[in-house]
């Protein structure tokens, strides 16, 4: 019989969780609650004696100093009691660790049908709170109906003896696993199957799939193993492998590009090959530090003679949009498996985040599944738990608000790992499978979770999107597996290693089998969470925290012994062959038999019409703005803008120092509250060498031209590294594209051709910038379909598409971390320089946004001249001439002068007349233009000559000095004082918008 233990803090102790809920009820829903107390509920569905129950109650679940507990409902004062628990099949991490603890303490093993479930009961005191409001608190604050269930019970309804009763979210499928054969008589029949089974097969692929299964020799071979028409597991395999998510059909597509202003047309065959692969391979030839790119789970660059760093970036947009916490934690934990599964495996070093969401204070008519504020809260928390519990520092991050992300949010997660250059004498970046190797699945078990995740993320979000693909990552299980795999690697046991992410075993086994050219999988061996899963479900499930490993049979005993030591489940599920076939059996019966080379050939290339119209032909123009007279409040208002202001509350929740590698932190300056341009870590503890990392996101410029958006984004990432003192010749890049649907459809996607043209232009800029700055793309991903159909005020739905967005991540090396320079002003009396030309480039700027305009003059990058300047700055930093260096980013010079001053808690006097510009510019243009290629530098006046000598023939100006008086004073070009603000006022403007969040 089940037992239910309720645990709560002793009266009088602060209930911090309850306090947060009360605060949010007030701030988010306008509901005043007197108090909220949290009761943790542990439901034990196992046969235990009274003694055993007592033992676990006191031994595990109740802290004698702070908590009380009872197997009867705890008496607690409330007006409403809200119980929240998981739905069946949702990952309950504390439930799983409770089982481990209980088994340890009692010295027993729970039976197959026994389990522990955790849930919460909130006791709310709020006399007069209506039932609808209590429901609102449950549904909009405490629970998400996709993964959770809840009960709202009034004081009157409460039965103090039965309490909430026994709610056991156990999965019961009552289903016998069955392999079905699917009809493919006609294209129409297969299309029907695809629709009914949610396979999301591209209509163009259907004839190819059919003709394969109808081929005579294929049929003969299939008959020999007892198969005829395709099975469900086979079509699921093809669907996964052909999905845009796995196969990048969009980037591999054929683009018919027309510039409507000139009538010029161009065919771009395969954006990936022309704009990503070819420049990267060309640069790999030139740069010996590029070790492994374009094929593995992540890219590999040399850190030092004995170590390589490994990097990749991912997005987890669709799942986060539906269940923010679950989506984000699964995203960060998932991306950590990429470096872990690169080469023979790497240790995770650091992570970073990028969130793009609607405005936190959105009050409009649209009804997204989660309000942007709640969505952001959940995403932040998911990455917090995922990163912190993995023991990996989250060292960098960005947040961007824009209404376009209401349709679908973006959650970027980036991971860096480190591996030894050689493992037992063999190159660590090389791996392969050979016939006879065992296929081993390690880590978590397989359940229904995550089924069709890949195909769902290849579609835009609608009310029909299956919710079943939302998961909750489990960093604890993965950390154990991480430690285990690194020990196994160091013993030289790993021949091949890859993660089970999108597509599950279907992808990991399918792709690894291509090396040996075949495999045989005995599917019944795969450990499952509960009975009743169909064979195809086991094959494509995306249940998390799993890796697929190939080892030689003679190493099995040692491998399993280490697996046991690390408390990781590992199972041999088959072996690699050279049969050319993917051969899956279940209890001896063949359920899939497919030629592995099917995926490599025969499928039609996707085609896109792309039509470009320059911004001036799209009705964009330069707004007519008279010169502002009140520039101090203008600057303060821009500092308070959501995309400029401080978001310290987020990064403080993230452990950015674990592993002891931190050398330049996210927050620096006198009061440790201003953002540094880049993060620097010292990955090898016994070495002084550093790895610098920075990212940028500038989607606002896409409203004008995605070409320049891309160029500026890359330039910003580069400047962030240069400013910190990193080597310009060893920059590696990671591109993460997030684009709305680009396939034209007259009704469903009328501007598809324009968005396709934006993608082509963006990719061209990517190629040109990477070649000019010599940045090999170590890794990259694309996530298309950033669109959503949101319900509006009148029951209509509206399609909301995101701005065309590229996140660019850049890494480089620092010989000695102690030579790095931070961005904060250091000493009064120091000279303040601007490097680089300021141009009339206010298009898409924060200044224009503040005034309600878009404009046309988007910032442009001239990599040739910029590069000379960056080299000179790199030399100045290396020569010790620079006291502080900071790039001029979003918001322009005014905003970033304020950042440098705030960083030092020092004042600054600036003369705008000394700013080099391509033509005479008005003060507001000088202050708020977002021209690329610029920096603010402060130096010791004694070093003036040496510094200036390095910048001979380059654009620079000495703008002013750092002052002890804590005021930012800016003089107009005519010498009159136009801005005067105390550092305190600047800080208050910059920190107040999100200042009450913790």
């Amino acid at each position: 019989m089940p037992y239910r233990l309720e645990i709560t803090l002793k009266p009088g102790l602060t209930d911090a969780e309850g306090g947060q809920i009360a605060r949010k009820a007030d701030h988010y829903l306008g509901l005043a609650l007197e108090s909220v107390r949290t009761i943790h509920v542990v439901t034990i569905d196992a046969d235990l004696s009274e003694d055993q129950l007592k033992k676990i109650q006191t031994g595990i679940f109740t802290n004698p100093v702070t908590q009380i507990s009872s197997f009867d409902p705890l008496p607690s004062e409330f007006d409403w009691s809200i119980w929240v628990g998981f739905r069946p099949g949702v990952r309950d991490n504390p439930g799983a660790t409770a089982v481990e603890a209980l088994e340890d303490l009692l010295g027993l093993k729970l039976g197959r049908e026994e389990a522990v479930y955790t849930s919460r009961r909130y006791c709310i005191r709020a006399p007069g709170l209506a039932v609808d409001d209590a429901d609102k608190i449950a549904g909009e604050l405490l629970a998400n109906n996709i993964i959770q269930q809840w009960r709202v019970i009034s004081k009157k309804e409460w039965d103090p003896e039965t309490g909430i009763g026994f709610i056991i979210p156990k999965v019961r499928l009552e289903h016998t696993p069955t392999v079905s054969t699917l009809p493919i008589g006609t294209d129409k029949a297969l299309k029907k199957v695809s629709d009914e089974r949610n396979l999301a097969l591209n209509p163009n692929d259907i004839p190819t799939i059919r003709s394969y299964f109808l081929k005579k020799d294929v049929l003969t071979a299939r008959n020999e193993v007892g198969l005829t028409e395709p099975t469900d597991i086979e079509l699921e395999y093809i669907s996964q492998a052909r999905s845009d998510h796995c196969n990048h059909n969009t980037f591999n597509g054929l683009f018919h590009y027309t510039d409507l202003s000139t009538g010029k047309t161009e065919k771009v065959d395969n954006l990936f090959k022309t704009c990503i692969q070819s420049p990267t391979l060309a640069l790999k030839e030139k740069k010996s530090w590029v070790i492994s790119v374009l094929w593995d789970n992540a890219g590999v660059g040399r850190f030092d003679e004995d170590h390589y760093y490994v990097i990749t970036g991912e997005t987890h947009n669709s799942p986060s949009n539906m269940e923010a916490y679950g989506g984000a934690i699964t995203g960060i934990v998932g991306v950590y498996r990429d470096p872990l599964g690169t080469g023979k495996g790497s240790k995770l070093l650091m992570g970073s985040y990028g969130y793009c969401v609607g405005h936190r204070d959105y009050k409009g008519d649209l009804k997204p599944h989660l309000h942007p504020r709640r969505l952001l809260d959940g995403v932040i928390e998911g990455v917090k738990d995922g990163g912190n519990k993995s023991g990996i520092p989250t060292s960098f991050g960005q947040v961007l608000f824009h209404p376009g992300y209401m349709g679908k949010c973006l959650v970027f997660v980036t991971a860096i790992g480190l591996m030894p250059a050689r493992v037992q004498g063999a190159p660590s970046e090389i791996k392969t499978t050979t016939p006879g190797d065992l296929i081993i699945m390690c880590g978590g078990r397989v359940g229904k979770d995550g089924i069709h995740g890949v195909t769902a993320s290849s579609e835009s979000f609608s009310s029909h999107t299956p919710a079943g693909h939302v998961q909750i990552g489990d960093p604890y299980t993965q950390k154990k597996m991480h430690d285990f795999l690194l020990e196994v690697r160091d013993q030289g046991l790993i021949r091949f290693l890859t993660d089970n992410g999108g597509g599950g075993l279907s992808s990991s086994v399918g792709e690894s089998a291509e090396f040996s050219n075949g495999c045989e999988v005995t599917l019944e061996k795969v450990p499952i969470k509960y009975d009743g899963l169909d064979q195809w479900e086991i094959w494509v499930s995306e249940s998390q925290e799993r890796m697929t490993v190939a080892i030689a049979p003679e190493h099995l005993d040692l491998f399993m012994a280490l697996s046991k030591k690390h408390a990781v489940e590992s199972t041999v599920i088959g072996r690699y062959t050279d049969s050319g076939k993917l051969h899956i059996t279940y209890n001896g019966n063949t359920c899939a038999y497919i030629d592995l080379d099917l995926m490599a050939s025969g499928f039609p290339q996707w085609e896109f019409q792309a039509e470009w119209q320059p911004p001036e032909n799209r009705g964009l123009f330069e707004p007519v703005i008279g010169k502002p007279k009140e520039c101090t409040p203008l600057l303060l208002d821009i500092l308070s803008r959501p995309n400029i202001c401080s978001k310290e509350w987020i990064a403080r929740q993230y452990d950015h120092e674990v592993q002891g590698t931190s050398a330049v932190k996210p927050f620096i300056g006198k009061e440790r509250d201003v953002n540094s341009d880049a993060a620097v870590i010292r990955p090898v503890l016994s070495s002084e060498k550093g790895l610098a990392f920075a990212q940028s996101l500038l989607p606002a410029y896409s409203a004008i031209d995605a070409y320049h958006m891309t160029a500026c984004t890359i330039d910003e990432a580069v400047r962030r590294l240069i400013a910190i003192g990193a080597d310009p010749s060893q920059i590696g890049g990671v591109d993460n594209f997030c684009w709305p649907d680009i396939q034209f459809h007259p009704e469903k996607n009328p501007d598809g051709k324009f968005k396709a043209a934006q993608l082509v232009r963006s990719c061209k800029a990517l190629k040109e910038m990477c070649m000019a700055y010599e940045i090999p793309l170590l890794s990259g991903k694309d996530s298309m379909y950033v669109d959503g159909h949101l319900a509006g005020r009148y029951g209509e739905t509206r399609k909301i598409s995101a701005l065309e967005t590229l996140q660019f991540s850049a890494t480089s090396l620092v010989d000695n971390v102690a030579t790095c320079v931070t961005m904060d002003a250091k000493m009064a009396g120091d000279l303040v320089y601007v490097l680089g030309l300021t141009r009339n480039e206010l298009g898409g700027s924060e200044y224009y946004e503040q005034l309600g305009f878009t404009g046309c003059n988007v910032p442009k990058v001239s990599p040739g001249p910029f590069k000379r300047l960056y080299r000179a700055l790199n030399n100045a930093i290396a020569d010790g001439l620079v006291a502080s260096a900071h790039g001029i980013f979003r918001g322009g010079l005014g905003v970033h002068l304020a950042m440098v001053a705030m960083g030092g808690n020092l004042g600054m006097t600036i003369d705008l007349q000394n700013i080099p510009s391509d033509q005479p510019l008005r003060a507001d243009t000088l202050l708020f233009s977002e021209s690329a290629g610029r920096f603010i530098i402060t130096i010791d006046p004694k070093k003036k000559n040496a510094f200036q000598k390095l910048f001979k023939d380059l654009p620079w100006g000495c703008m002013g000095t750092i002052t002890e008086t804590p005021y930012l004073n800016i003089n107009d070009t005519d010498g009159s004082l136009m801005i005067s603000a105390s550092i305190q006022d600047l800080k208050s403007a910059w920190k107040t918008p999100f200042g009450d969040l913790i």
Binding site: A16, N63, P94, D104, K389, G669, R672, C820
Partner: protein, 271 residues
Amino acid sequence: MTPDINVLVLTGYGLNCDHETAHSFSLAGARPSRVHINSLIDGTMNLENFQILVFGGGFSWGDDHGAGVIQAIRMKTNIGDTLLKFIENGNLVMGICNGFQTLVNLGLLPGFDRDYTRRSVALTFNDCGNFRDQWVYLKINSDSPCIFTQGIDKLELPVRHGEGKFYSDASTLLHLETNNQVVLQYATSGYEPAGLTFPDNPNGSVSDIAGICDPSGRIFGLMPHPEAFHHPTNHPDWAREKEIAIRNGKTWTPEPAMGLKLFENAVHYFS
């Protein structure tokens, strides 16, 4: 130097500060080994060969059901007696963050009257309601018998936790204070008591307590992370301090990182 001091740093089950903790001990002159909890339990590794045992930072068992609780159960159930014997033999035990949480759940701290099994203090959820990473100023009780902090009166270290609020009832607190078992207290930048004020006291710990020891001073637990300050560039202000030092005519030679002192004291105890 005392090269024969062996340090056992626990790993596994979600612990995660083992590499930098081991590194800090080797900088302090000891010989550290990272040992999986299960290797200690199954006897592959023998505690008798070590002088210092470290329960390090991390999220053991995901910190579900109270930080450090399940780790404490696993240790107590399987090798409880071995641990007590290790202490009886005059060795040192250090608990950092999750390790501190484990020590209080094991009852190794506060260890009143040599009772190393009773749970009488707790580390619970931060009053601010969230996990927090920040550097703190720590005032050190020079009257404390703590071996690890001898000769240090103040220290800056990072805290990184969600459950670091030290809590006990008033009489236990008084007992701790009278015994000088309170070792570290959160302070202001001027090393005045934080007085429960956020963020100087980042979690609401009673009496600003950041670390305590047992009456012998040989068992020490603290929430801040000394192993995260083993290198001068770990400190958040190093780039500022470097520039200012150079301007004042000094060549910048990085001070040895202060966090290392705690490890050096532990190692020197045996010399």
